[in-house]
């Protein structure tokens, strides 16, 4: 088997994206979803139910009395918060596996993914981009999922990738491509495909390091994820191994004619949001 074939086999063996979360997403996509229908979907999964209640009763919301029923919690949180909670819960489990090859701390990939998702939301909101919020959050959250699979295969190739990056001429993703013949973005696209995600999300994941190569109809999403990734890495929410060896994609900034000060404001808004998110998600900032 070639390395690519082995990796495709590993993608096939990856645990599916949690069914409960996917079904809840579909239910939440209806403009007038039914709370009782949603509760029926969620209550099947005890861990998910416990998580929702835990969040509702966390200090962050500071509710005067304890929320004890799932129904109450669903009503209280509302569609957006619920969606993000469900997605983050599923994504954190996927990212927080030990990453042997890329030798990063188990939670580093996860923190980077979360930071990218928060940054992407800040971009969408602050730059008033006309694109579905849910789509942006999901694509950004899962953009590096290919690293989870790839890292178990690169143990013996890792030094070659690293020394190319050290030369200063290759980004981490370019070095992956040179050494392996493919990169984590491509593999991530395949994983999203195997999870039956919509084509826009698959494309945004697959092209997050080369947004201008993305099919035209999905390019905006790929550009948002690429820029969010750039800014998250720049500020220091990277994955450790690759440092800041990541190529900048400023297409979106150019199109919107944004300058230095705008970028600083985006970073500021990001940090404010990130602190809140870390609080809610129980993630440490470092």
């Amino acid at each position: 088997m070639s390395l690519m074939e082995e990796i495709i086999a590993a993608v096939d063996e990856m645990p599916p994206f949690p069914q409960v979360v996917q079904r809840a997403m579909q239910a939440l996509a209806e403009p007038e979803y039914e709370v009782s229908g949603l509760v029926d979907i969620l209550k099947v999964d005890q861990a998910v139910t416990a998580n929702i209640l835990k969040l509702c009763n966390s200090a962050y919301f500071g509710l005067p009395r304890k929320v004890s029923s799932l129904k109450e919690a669903v009503v209280y949180l509302g569609a957006n918060q619920l969606r993000q909670l469900l997605l983050s819960g599923a994504a954190s489990k996927i990212y927080e596996k030990p990453n042997e090859g890329y030798a990063v701390f188990a939670d580093e990939l996860w923190r980077h993914a979360l930071a990218t998702a928060v940054m992407a939301q800040v971009l969408r909101r602050h730059l008033r981009l006309k694109i579905d919020e849910n789509m942006v959050f999901t694509a950004a959250l899962l953009h590096d999922v290919g690293k989870v699979v790839l890292s178990t295969f690169v143990v013996d190739k890792y030094l070659a990738i690293e020394s190319m990056v050290e030369s200063g001429e290759y980004s981490f993703q370019e070095a992956e491509k040179e050494v392996l013949g493919f990169d984590h973005a491509e593999i991530g696209g395949k994983i999203a495909e195997s999870w039956d995600f919509p084509p826009a999300i698959i494309a945004a994941i697959a092209f997050h390091h080369e947004p201008s190569s993305s099919p035209k109809e999905f390019r905006l999403l790929a550009e948002i994820v690429a820029l969010a990734n750039n800014l998250a890495v720049m500020v220091g929410y990277g994955t450790g191994v690759d440092g800041l060896a990541c190529r900048g994609h400023d297409l979106l900034l150019q199109k919107l004619k944004l300058g230095e000060k705008d970028l600083e404001k985006l970073v500021l808004l990001f940090q404010i949001e990130m602190e809140k998110t870390c609080d809610i998600a129980g993630v440490s900032e470092h």
């Binding site: 220091g236 990277g238 900048g248």
Partner: protein, 160 residues
């Protein structure tokens, strides 16, 4: 020994010789460490942005986010613990960049430039620095002796 963490956009000072101050993942941000070896007082600042003019309200709430507010505050808090400006040893790390020929993502560079400018105006000399490139840094300061260690991605531990 107790490890005292300085978050992003945060600063802390100490005169407890048992303490080691640490700040993680400096990308474009700057870690500024100042130490008075006689008073054995040290402080560490992790700022994100050069100038607070983009958001005065945030600057009032969290001065450590900005170079122009955080740097003076760091010195002031050290003076309160008995540090003297003339004896201060100053070390700086961070200010990295992603790979970008156009220089769009150069907040790291500007974070460093404003520090140089402020120090020049106030006659402050930098005693050691590790700036720029595309690595990620973690910075440690031992209050006991002011020793600064850097953990640099792809390089490992070095003393600054």
């Amino acid at each position: 020994m107790s490890l005292v963490t300085i978050g992003i956009a945060d600063l802390k000072v100490s005169n407890n010789p048992e303490d080691t101050l640490v700040t993680y993942s400096l990308g474009s941000c700057i870690g500024l460490a100042v130490y008075d070896p006689v008073a054995r007082v040290g402080g560490l600042l992790h700022y994100m942005l050069p100038d607070s003019s983009i958001n005065q309200e945030k600057a009032a709430k969290n001065p450590a986010m900005f170079a122009n507010k955080g740097i003076p505050l760091l010195f002031k808090q050290c003076y309160k613990l008995g540090a003297d400006k003339k004896r201060m040893i100053i070390k700086v790390a961070g200010g990295s960049q992603i790979m970008d020929d156009a220089g769009t993502f150069n907040i790291g560079k500007r974070n460093y430039a404003i520090l140089r400018k402020m120090f020049w105006k106030n006659n402050v000399m930098i005693d050691g620095e590790d700036i720029g490139g595309n690595c990620n840094r973690t910075m440690y300061m031992q209050i006991e002796d002011g020793k600064i260690n850097l953990k640099i991605s792809k390089k490992g531990m070095v003393e600054l």
